[in-house]
């Protein structure tokens, strides 16, 4: 059960994630030049508003996008519908938001 509003939300978050994924891949390639160390990564991200914003946006977009995708799979494969499907979708959003926020907090704020 995918409403047109959820469909739009999934497309908009995909549009947001596309450049963020490219940026993320680019930074990964840049970051491993000359070896990979947690010190180097944290040196770039800790206290950085820019990286906090980028990865914060990434986490929000991904949580919404992935939850809607999984919602469709759960509906089509397991036949879950109605309020139960809404609850499961919401739980996936909260789980991904929680895990992602924790990671962003760890590399930016700690």
């Amino acid at each position: 059960m995918l409403s047109i509003k959820l469909y739009i939300a999934q497309r908009l978050t995909a549009m947001l994630m596309a450049p963020l994924v490219l940026l993320h891949l680019g930074v990964m390639i840049y970051a491993i030049q000359g070896g990979l160390s947690s010190g180097e990564i944290l040196g770039r991200t800790q206290g950085s508003f820019f990286w906090g914003l980028i990865y914060g946006l990434f986490v929000v977009a991904l949580s919404i996008h992935a939850a809607i995708g999984l919602r469709v799979v759960i509906y089509e494969w397991l036949g879950v519908t109605g309020a139960r499907l809404n609850w499961i979708t919401t739980a996936i959003v909260i789980l991904l938001l929680g895990l992602g926020s924790k990671a962003v907090y760890a590399v930016v704020m700690s």
Binding site: M1, L2, S3, I4, K5, L6, Y7, I8, R11, V72, Y75, E76, W77
Partner: protein, 242 residues
């Protein structure tokens, strides 16, 4: 004459929803023989109670679609020589529809979904108005023309994995029809139709796997029509029109 005395092995589905099985037949091979010719030969010579549908025999009516060697096809325009699997041909009813008997499916739900998708023209003029001039070059008319030659055969519906997994999904044929009407400038039901095709099982459920486009015997592209509906519906939603 090269086929004189030769036969082909035919595995034909007999029975209904609760009990169907493949039964083997030997059918004389003929030149330019179609799958429908084979089914008709079996019905006339071996199994008078064999149930199947056909009408025009020339690819216009959309009645004779069946699953041939695992693929949905219009049988009147499918030559046996082109779809033989070794010396065998397997003929079954269309997928995703209840079987009434043998090769005849129940198409009620298929056509009910056309109604659900508001696949009917909503006139905006009366007989007193002059005839509207529409250039065939207009973008909207070209979009409508691209999908207008659908013969309602159900091949796309049978080939669609979303239909298989989601009973509420309207299916490629109904959505393709809706898209032709959305592009008809004379039609007055655009927003109501967009609402109808974005409810449960609407166009947004399509995974763009393109089974419909692969198997459409009239080489239409329902996936493209559905993509058009998704875009039109998303824009209308964002504009607050629906």
């Amino acid at each position: 004459m090269a086929n004189k005395g030769k036969t082909i092995k035919v595995l034909l589905s007999r029975g209904d929803n609760s009990n169907s099985a493949l039964k083997e037949y030997e059918v004389p091979a003929k030149e330019s023989q179609t799958v429908l010719d084979v089914v008709t030969w079996i019905q006339r010579n071996l199994e008078p109670d064999l149930s199947y549908r056909f009408a025009c025999r020339v690819g216009m009516c959309g009645s004779c679609a069946m699953t041939v060697n695992g693929k949905p096809r219009w049988t009147c325009r499918t030559h046996v020589s082109k779809v033989m699997d070794g010396d065998t041909i397997t003929i079954e009813p269309l997928r995703n529809m209840p079987i009434i008997k043998d090769l005849a499916c129940d198409l009620n739900e298929f056509f009910e979904k056309w109604t659900k998708a508001k696949g009917h023209f909503v006139p905006t003029k009366t007989r007193d108005d002059s005839v509207q001039i529409i250039s065939p070059k207009e973008k909207s008319r070209r979009e409508a023309n691209a999908g207008i030659e659908c013969i309602n055969c159900g091949v796309c519906y049978a080939s669609c994995d979303v239909v298989e997994n989601d009973a509420s999904y309207l299916g490629p044929a109904a959505l393709n029809r809706a898209w032709t009407l959305v592009n008809d400038v004379r039609d007055g039901g655009r927003i109501e139709r967009l609402k109808a095709v974005t409810g449960d099982g609407g166009c947004q459920s399509c995974h763009s796997q393109q089974g419909c486009t692969t198997y459409c015997p009239n080489t239409l592209n329902p996936t493209r029509s559905i993509a058009g509906l998704k875009k039109a519906a998303a824009i209308a939603t964002l504009k607050g029109e629906m």
